[in-house]
Structure formats: C-alpha cells, structure tokens
Symmetry: C2
Subunit: 502 residues, 2 copies
C-alpha cells in the first residue's frame, strides 16, 4: 500500500506545481487585459511563453511519464476522489503527448498566420483572403483528430476537447429538435405582431453608476469581493487563480444599459462557479469548472433564468429606478421586463437574444461537422452560411463581415468550441427546472432578492465538484435525466408567451 500512497502523493505534488504555474499564466493574462501598458506586450509574450513551456515540460518529462505508467497500472487500487484525480492526470499526460511536436509547431504557426489573415479579411470583408489559412488549419486539425482518435465521427475528437463526452451522435438529434422548435417559436412571435419597445435602454447612463449598480447586484447574488475583483477591459471575461482569487471584467457603454449589467451578471455566474469549487481540489487538475458547457450553464443560469425573470425585477426594479430615476421615470416593470427579453433576429451571434442565439450555434455546428466529414469545402462556407441564415433566421448577410467572418474562433482553429455555448443553455434549462422542483419557493426567493439557497443548491450539486465529474455525470446526477433540448424549448415557449402574449 505504501507504493500506491506514494504514487498519489507524487501525482498530487506535480498537479499542484502545474496548477500554480497555470494560475500564474492566468494572472499574466488578466494583467495584460486590465493593467498592462501597451508598450509592454513583447515582454509579456516572452513571460507567458516561458511559463507555458515549463508547464508543458513538467507534464511530459521522464518523471511525469513514469508517474503516468504507474498511475495506469495501479489505477484500480484507487477509488473515489483519488481515482478520479489520477484519471485526470492520465488524461492530461496523454493529451500533452498525443500530438507529434512537428504538428504542434505547425499548428501554432498556422494559428498565428490564421489570426492575422482573419483580421485582414474581416477588415476587407473578403472571405477569400482567409480561406487558404482556414483550409490549412482544418487540415492540421483533421490530422490532430486522427492522432487523438475517435469512435464514430472525426469531429468528435474536436468536440471532446472542449466538452468531455460530447459527440456528433449525441448532439445531432438534440440540436435538430432545438432548431425546429426555435424556428416554430420565431414564427409564433412573428404572428403576434406585438412591438416591444426597448429605446429606454439606450438613454444616457453614467458609467460609474452603471458599474456600481452592477457590482451591488453581483455581490447580492453571492460574489465574494474579499476573494475576487471586478475591473474594466475591452472584452468581458472571468478568470480564476484559485477559488479564493476570482476576477471578472466588464465594459461599459453610456447608451447600452443592458450590455454592462447583463455582462457583469454573466461573468458573476462564471465567478460563483469558480469561487464554489472545493478548496481541497483547487490545486489539482479537478480545480476549475467541469467543462466549457457546464461553465456556460452557470453564467446563463444567473444571467437568463434568474436575472431576466419577472420575479428578479420585482426585487431589483425599484432599486434600479432609485439609481437611475431620470432614465426610467416613464417605464414600468412590465415594459422593462419585455425590453430586456425582446426577441429579434440578428445577423450577429453575440448581439442575439437568448432564444435565437442557438440557431447561430447550430449553423456553425453543422458547418464544422460537414468540414470534418468532408461534405463541406472551406470554399463553400459563405454560400452555405448565407443559405442557412436565411432558412433559420430569415435574414441574409450583405457581406462576409456580417456573415461567416464575424467570429474569431476559426482563425485559431477552435473547431468544436461553438456547441458548448448552446450546451450551456440546455444544461441551464435542465438545472432551472430541477431547482424549481427541489426548492419550490425558488421564484418567491428571487422576488425577495434572497439568493442564498439558490447559490447553496448550485454549490452542493455542481460547483464543489469542479472537474471531479464530467458534464454528462453532472447532468445525470443533478436531474436524473440525460441531456435534452425539451427543457430549454419549454422555457423559451413560456418566455415568448410572457413577452408576446398567449
């Protein structure tokens, strides 16, 4: 037994070391976005590159390899948390050695070139400038998929990278149901001919007051400012150096009240997840969120299910009106609720409402799937994009900038990333239904501005585990059901009825 004890301790120490380095790299990244003077970029790139290579060396060197071999052969003598941590170590090791060094270098180069080409193509709104670089990235990722391996579909190797257990077979029927249901819902909205006014969200809101209100509301939900911060940056994000040091950022526009507020609440959802991970596993590979999809479910849980509800604004609207009396003097609760839930098809993914958003993702999922199975060529992306946009959302981009060049993800070869956004919505709806079963007074508590039990429920059922459970295990353990689109569609239907009438 002493051998196996020593093995676990050695693996733990290695994980601690690597997690500390990764936390430090996160700080370097946070500082770069929040504080760093622009002229300092070259030095920062060197610091990050050096720490990344040290981290990579630690997980792939001879000593790690011998721990990996030990762990593989003794895994069955472990159970529970220890077994799961050893498994995560084994996976991390395999992930770091599975790709040949030449492929890693080629991909890094193709990413750098891809991002530059994408920026130029986006600027010129000319997809043809980007296409050869995207093709190169796709070829390299297909090669990577063959090294990584997959059971059924080559694209699975990409999906699994961002969302453990996600496959084409699992997602395709669910996304098809979601697509159909959403398109029908949009037809229903259209048929109501109800105009929702949201002009008052574009009145003038002093940035300092916006921030202070958002911060107050974030704290009320449970964000612990003794173990976290909020700052300004160009793009909002959440980063965690440890459950006791979690930082979020936001941006503020004077004439877009909803942008800063819901941005902060969204990042607060991510942050509450990170702050809730059990401190005992913080410095292991189980520290941090289970997957991108589960992470997104937590940000959306608070942003949409809680903070876009009527009940939430029964509590928060009086406070908001006190903070911004001039801006909302002629707006009532119902008008405000409708405004922040207005459904309107957009050409742009990030500007979409919570319901049409999924159609943007499904479109990208279908294209990526086609690229990896060879049924779609990179040359044909703009045409397919525009056709699908018309079919799903009844809008057609006038040019590539408005269309297939709008996202940065493909420029760094991030195939398989997009679906996690929609998975977050689906998980979120399932959790939302479950908490309302487990705690029938959930909505009453929200209306009273009391979020303690809700956060506690998330902590107990999801947050504390970090990556000790896979996404599908969490969904199963929390809801007793496998992944489904039904909960989301039901939620969406209810929302449409509330905003546009029965």
């Amino acid at each position: 037994m002493s051998t196996t004890t020593t093995l676990f301790e050695s693996v733990s120490q290695l994980m601690n070391k690597i997690k500390d380095i990764q936390a430090t790299i996160s700080l370097l990244g946070w500082d770069q976005e929040v504080n760093m003077p622009t002229g300092s970029a070259p030095a920062r790139a060197e610091h990050i590159s050096t720490l990344s290579s040290i981290s990579h060396e630690l997980i792939t060197n001879d000593s790690a390899k011998s721990l990996f071999e030990d762990a593989k052969s003794h895994l069955d003598s472990y159970s529970g948390t220890e077994k799961r941590l050893l498994t995560l170590f084994i996976e991390e090791f395999e992930q770091n050695i599975v790709l040949p060094m030449q492929l890693i270098k080629d991909t890094a180069k193709a990413r750098a070139l891809g991002q530059t080409a994408w920026r130029q193509a986006y600027h010129d709104s000319d997809y043809s400038l980007f296409q050869p670089y995207l093709q190169r990235l796709l070829d390299l990722k297909i090669e990577a998929a063959e090294h990584i391996g997959y059971k059924e579909h080559r694209y699975d190797a990409m999906l699994d990278n961002y969302e453990k257990g996600a496959t084409v077979t699992l997602l395709t029927p669910i996304f098809e149901e979601l697509r159909q249901g959403t398109i029908e819902l949009l037809q229903e909205v259209d048929s109501k001919k109800e105009y929702v006014n949201r002009d008052f969200l574009h009145r003038t809101f002093e940035p300092v007051k916006q921030l202070s209100f958002a911060k107050q509301m974030s704290e009320r939900l449970g964000f612990d400012f003794n173990k976290g911060r909020i700052d300004l940056s160009t793009h909002p994000f959440c980063t965690s150096f440890s459950p006791i040091d979690v930082r979020i950022t936001t941006r503020v526009s004077e004439d877009k009240f909803h942008s800063c507020f819901f941005g902060v609440i969204h990042e607060t959802g991510h942050a509450l997840y990170e702050q809730g991970v059990n401190q005992e596993i913080a410095r292991t590979f189980a520290g941090g969120g289970s997957s991108l999809g589960i992470h997104e479910s937590q940000s959306l849980f608070w942003e949409n299910y809680v903070c876009r509800s009527e009940e939430y604004w029964m509590y928060a609207f009086p406070i908001l009106k006190k903070e911004f009396p001039d801006q909302f003097y002629n707006v009532n609760l119902e008008q405000f609720f409708k405004a922040i839930n207005k459904i309107s098809t957009s050409l742009n993914r990030v500007e979409s409402d919570e319901i049409t958003y999924n159609l943007h993702i499904i479109l990208r999922f279908e294209i990526e799937k086609g690229l990896f199975e060879g049924s779609i060529r990179t040359e044909d992306i703009p045409e397919i994009w525009n056709t699908k946009m018309n079919e799903y959302l009844s809008v057609v981009p006038e040019n590539d900038k408005q269309g297939c060049l709008q996202d940065v993800h493909w420029s760094f070869g991030g195939f398989g990333y997009f679906p996690t956004y929609t998975l977050g919505k689906l998980y979120g709806a399932m959790f939302w239904n479950q908490i309302n079963k487990d705690i029938p007074k959930t909505k009453d508590m929200i209306a009273q501005g009391n979020f303690t039990d809700i956060l506690q429920w998330l902590r107990t059922n999801i947050h504390q585990y970090g990556r000790l459970k896979t996404p599908q295990e969490i969904v199963k353990d929390v809801t007793g059901r496998p992944l489904t689109a039904t909960d989301f569609l039901e939620y969406a239907k209810n929302k449409v009825t509330k905003v546009y009438g029965a």
Copy 2:
C-alpha cells in the same frame, strides 16, 4: 570555437528562462500589493513559493552545474559583455549552492518567527520579546558568512550580498568622515537660530489632484507611461518586469503634500533606471540595476539633487501654484524651497531629512559591524542605540518602539542592507558633481524644466549597463574617482547655507 559559442547560448537560454520566472514573481508581488483581494493571500503565497522553487531548481540542477563548470573553465576565452554575463551566471550559481539546505530552511523559519516576534515587540514596545529571535537570526547569518567566505571582516559577507564590493575596510573611514561632517553641520544649523516654517505643506490637498500633479511631473522627467504605470499601495515601491514594463506605486495623505510628491519622484528615479537598461541584456542576469546602492543613487538623484533644488522649483512652483492656488496663495518660492529642505533631527529614520538621514544609517552600520565581530551583544542594542542617538542627533528615544525596533529589516535578518541607503546618497552626490562638470548648463536646464539631456547622461553613463558593471566600476568610470563622502558633505554644506544663511 563552436563549443564555447554553444556554452554562451546555453547559459543565455537558462538566464532568459530564470529572468522570465523572476519577472513573473515580481508581477505576483506587485499584484499582491496593488490589486489582490485580502482573502486571496494563501493562494498567492503558494504561487510565489512554487515559482521560486522552480527558479531555484533551474539554477542548481545538474544541467546548470555542468554549464557552471564549463563556464568556469572556458571563461578566459570570452571577453566583453559575454564574459561579464558568464561571470554573473557563475556568481549566481555559487550563491545558490553555497549554503547547506539545512541552513536555508533554518533561516527561512527564523525569518518567519523573527517577523512575527518583531511585530509583537514593536506593538508592545518591548525589545526583550524580539531579542532571542534576533540572536537566532544573527547566529544563522554568522554561519552563512562562514560558508560564503570573506577576506577581512565577517560582516563583509553581508555587505557584499547587497552591494558588490562593499567592505568594512572601504566603508568605515568614509562613514566616519560623513558622521563627523554631518554632526558639525548640525551644530552650524543650530547656531543659526533660523526657524523654517513648513506648516503650509500640511494644508488640505485633494488626493486625486496630488496624484495627477505628481504623475505629470514624473512624465516630464522622462517616465514612459507607455512602458509603465503608477498605482496606489500601502508602501511606495518600484518594480520592473522588463525595461518595457516598469511600475511604481505611491501613497497619498491629504495633509502631507511632500510625502506623495517626493515619494513619486523617488520611485520615478528607480523607474527611469529600470526603463533605461539596454533591452539586449534585459532577460539576462545583467538586466536590472547594478546594486541597491546604485539604484538608490538614481532615486535620490532626481528626488534630492534635481527636485529639491531652487532651480527645479523655479520651473515647477508656478505649475504647482496653478494646481493648488488656495494652498499656496501666501507662499513664495523661497519659503517653499526652505520648507522642503528643512533640517530637523528626528528619532525616526524614514521621517528624516536628506542630511541627518545618514546618521541613522551610520548608527545601524556600527551596530551591525559590532554584532558580526562580537564586540556588541544583541542584549545591549537598546542601550547602545540610545547612546548613539544622543551622541549623533542629540535626541533620545523614550522607548524601544521609537528606538531600535523602528525598522523591519533585522526581523528578516537583513544585515548589511542599511548601508546601501547612504551609499546611494554618496554615489548620487558624486554623479551630481560630475554631470555639472560634463554639462555645465545642467542647472539652467532644470530651471527651464528641460530634463532630456540629464536623463540621456544618466542613460549613457549608468542606466544602459544594468549589472554589466559593479557599483565601484560605475563610480570609477563615471567620475574617475573612488567612493568618497566629500561630494555629499560639500553638497550638504551648500544646502545648509541656502536654507539657513551663510
């Protein structure tokens, strides 16, 4: 020749790696003082400890040892910068392996205990609570000195650690001349019976405006805010992650104008040094200042020699009056100049003026020297302290808090650190005399607010070299003379005449 080329490249790569880690540790430290939520301290301690141990491992492992042996045996086939960099690598390696691991661990423990005991003793104003811990630290440092080695005096091993080349033999006669000269100067000031009023420096100055004024003046001296920042922290400091990322901090008191302003200028002096290091050597062991003493000479050069001069305020006082019209409405340039140069003996080192300050340092130097040669026992420090305070400054502390417990340095075993403060003053005076010889219009340029040529002179003669030169080499190369107290005493005499009359 190909062998030696490879050696230099390998050493360079190792230095780059270690410097990047050290820069990252500096960022972790900066963030801790400037941004970090208080509850995050335990995680931060782990991150710093992990990175420190990785850095230590890299400089002491077998691969470093073999480079060290190669470098030692091939050193003579190198010259110039390459030779100096290899020498710095050899020194760094030796410094990291010279102490037995047990002594390092014992010292770390004694430092932790020492700091806790000192805080308690300081709080209770009772030196006896601290004395046993100080004795333990002294014993360990004496043991360290024996490992490090020294030619004449055991205390030299401590001095050399903070200021390469500083020895008891070098410093003793210079410090004695300085002590005598300063005491005589104080008697002269006393005999003038001239009262200098500085009450107006304690009027109410809005913090935001103080900061903005100090920042403006810092930028005017040459601080590049595209490659640096200024923030608030409890204790002012300067830290550098690279010459293109240098950050200073300050504190602001509403009723102490001089504290924030001269604090910022002092740290600006440090920052200009760091920003001026040749980018080519930034990621080597020559990146950063030559020594603590030379660093201090740069902060004091700007703080005292430039920004406490009459000429500087001929330029800056009109700007200051515009910024703070109410506070200075009845103050003229002469009154202001005298106020910021008032000489008044203090019990406290950090509250001292630029002239009496050295007496505080010399007192500590004499006690430390005595402790290391065995002529002073730790038990006797308070008595010796008070006697010397009376003799040098004609003031006697009423208790240990006001006396020998006022500084934190001894609580972490920082023997040999204090003298670098006074060395900074002496170097600074020598550089000041030299620049006035090399650029006779120096004072005129200051009076016009034109600092370009002054900064260029410092860059050319001092900054660019980083640690490519030792402190004594810099002094010799810049002034053609060895270290002396004469320049400082002459400068002090002039200042006294200007403020208190001939």
